[in-house]
Symmetry: C2
Subunit: 408 residues, 2 copies
């Protein structure tokens, strides 16, 4: 008998019929003898509906109260799923964040789990019940309701699996697993059977929206094996696991892209110590996250400093840079709000030379100009003109994963 | 400086604009220097929407989980009102039943409040905040969410006012107060300025849906002065208070009616000890509440036994009676599903003779036949053919309250 934590996303519980479908899946697993803790998200669209109400109320709604508001989304789903399970003859009980209890810090809207008291869940499991837990929510030390931020239900599930030393954590979603690239852009994209935590982290942070990045970090830290799979089929999904030796045989496990990038360049700034701090201090203070940064010193003692920010923050970031450009001695500011980032990810890059070179060559062969390059141990990213993003993804997928290469 | 508990019903917080309106009212009261605890219901229609989801899920949904589900209605409203208050510059904080904490028994769907720990509310008030509390909900000893039943937010407000020794409890609703009769039936109906708890109890239980009956019982027991008034105007409403000597000067304070009555008669039953128990035992077991009961023995040793039940329970009750009629020796069962109850209520009945006689005379004068009569200390009710209900109400209102008589 195993203890399995299952998590069902908003699409999986999007209406009454789908909740019945989830109940049937859960009841079947339970009938096979496993102990089950089921974490659910709000019904698809519900969190946005609630945030819309808050925005209608006030453009700058109080964060604590917003968490009280949106936490109702998951509360509705746990109640409905527990009702469906009991109706299906499967004993069940729902718990909210404060009942479990899932303790967090007090960072409303983006709280972090600090501890989980699993005694109440353990007692319910011992009594033969399926335990349905509201994802996304917790309580701080003062019993205030907190939420974990978008996609937080993944983190709830993984944290529960870690706290309860579960044998596995299954993430049910509306896709069949993690793909080598976005199938909408790349007809050859195929499902990965296995992927390492580190690769998944790079894929998650690069825009593959299958798993929330914090949940993967959590799974890696506590060694929780994840299984990302579809709620609507019975096929195996993608297992996200500890790195295995054979994984390095594959150069690239995925090609991802992110259209949400805008580029700003400070032209010919005198290159002096503290320059970067003076540029990025005010941007960080404005809570804008900078993605890529490139600085290239010339022989004449000046440098071009280029960086990218999310498109939504572009105007604000530009305002901050322009306010300081003269002080910094720059001759001007150049911008391009229409760029995209394309990345390849793979453990194989660590041990195989020439992966980046092969990437640049493939892009050059179809005439795509590379504007910026950034690399990490298992990832290489380039910024290109936004209009080339589909082509770039397809070309790179063909080059590294196209002909049946890669981890299938 | 006073401590006031205010309660706003579902219509008062029915949409974003109305919640802003409530916030403005609350902020204005706060600006006058009062400490405020504000109890809110779910937005109009929301509880029914949630119960509809549960019913779609399962015709016999689990009671514990239904409470988890519907408690979200009030949770949404407290968050939105707290957001609106802070946006209006009025410091505020929301609390749910488990945060306050409002302890109840474990009778899901109709829980009773056992105690209230007001320390957290007290601290928030001391910090200068308006405290917004979710009505209708509490927690049992095992931290399960409970609800108090329909209209339970009134009870939450009164219980909080009692626990905190508030100076008053204001019930805001979509009518201007308690009326001498239903203005839709009775154009002469007028708002009462003051009414005793006992009169309000009779009016509430007889179909005047302004206040939930348990909240009035609670207010009476703990001496909490109530003020029922409109959310949408600034006019004084109706004060529900301890009985005052002058109140008995008025014979009748209100005329009410209830169309939700169906009548069943067991004809010529042999009159023997235990008859009533044998008739009403099975009906009580079926959880059907019987309203009026009349038994009249004849000289021939038989009796006609007549009683009324809610229309929705009529078929079930009839089935139970018919199943037993032969055993009981009745010659037959007569029914009338189309009757209504009309009542007059007033403290004055206690000390003034002839009130009932005047009532019967007024009805006889317009040719309305009285089918059943039932009386209590401060109330006289009659059952009449349903088609006469408007006429009966108007005639009785004219007779007792029409010409500027009564407590205005």
């Amino acid at each position: 008998m195993s203890l399995i934590v299952q998590k069902y996303g908003g699409t999986s519980v999007g209406d009454v019929a789908r909740i019945h479908n989830v109940a049937a899946r859960v009841a079947a697993c339970r009938a096979r003898g496993d102990d089950l803790v089921v974490v659910v998200s709000a019904m698809a669209g519900e969190t946005n509906r609630l945030l819309g109400l808050a925005a209608e109320m006030c453009s700058d709604a109080d964060e604590r109260e917003k968490d009280v508001l949106v936490a109702t989304g998951e509360q509705v789903t746990v109640a409905l799923l527990a009702i469906a399970l009991k109706a299906a003859g499967c004993p069940a009980v729902s718990f909210l964040g404060h009942q479990v209890r899932i303790a967090t810090d007090s960072a409303f809207g983006k709280a972090r789990i600090t501890s989980i008291d699993d005694s109440r869940i353990g007692a319910a499991l011992a009594a033969g019940k399926v335990v349905v837990v509201a994802g996304f929510q917790g309580v701080d030390a003062d019993d205030n309701i907190t939420t974990l931020g978008r996609g937080g239900s993944d983190t709830s599930a993984v944290a529960l699996a870690a706290a309860m030393h579960a044998d596995g954590c299954e993430i049910y979603t509306d896709v069949e697993g993690v793909f080598t690239s976005d199938p909408r852009l790349c007809p050859n994209a195929r499902k990965l059977d296995r992927i390492s935590y580190d690769e998944m982290l790079e894929l998650a942070s690069l825009g593959a929206k299958v798993l929330q990045i914090r949940s993967v970090e959590f799974a890696k830290r506590y060694g929780v094996p994840l299984h990302v799979r579809s709620t609507f089929t019975d096929t195996e999904g993608t297992r996200v696991v500890e790195e295995e030796a054979s994984m390095e045989d594959v150069l690239v496990s995925g090609v991802t892209y992110d259209r949400d990038e805008a580029k700003i360049t400070l032209v010919r700034v005198p290159d002096q110590p503290g320059l970067a701090a003076r540029v990025f201090g005010p941007i960080a203070d404005a809570n804008i996250s900078v993605d890529m940064i490139i600085q290239n010193a010339s022989a004449d003692g000046t440098t071009d400093l280029t960086f990218t920010v999310p498109k939504a923050d572009f105007r604000r970031a530009l305002g901050l840079v322009e306010a300081h450009a003269r002080d910094l001695g720059a001759t001007g500011v150049r911008t391009d709000a229409d760029v995209a980032k394309v990345s390849i990810v793979g453990l194989g890059m660590r041990s195989h030379a020439g992966v980046a070179a092969k990437m640049f060559r493939a892009l050059a062969d179809v005439g795509i100009n590379i504007q910026m390059i950034s690399t990490s141990e298992i990832k290489t990213s380039v910024v290109v003109d936004a209009k080339y993003v589909e082509l770039a993804v397809r070309v790179l997928h063909d080059a590294f994963l196209g002909g049946g290469e890669g981890r299938g």
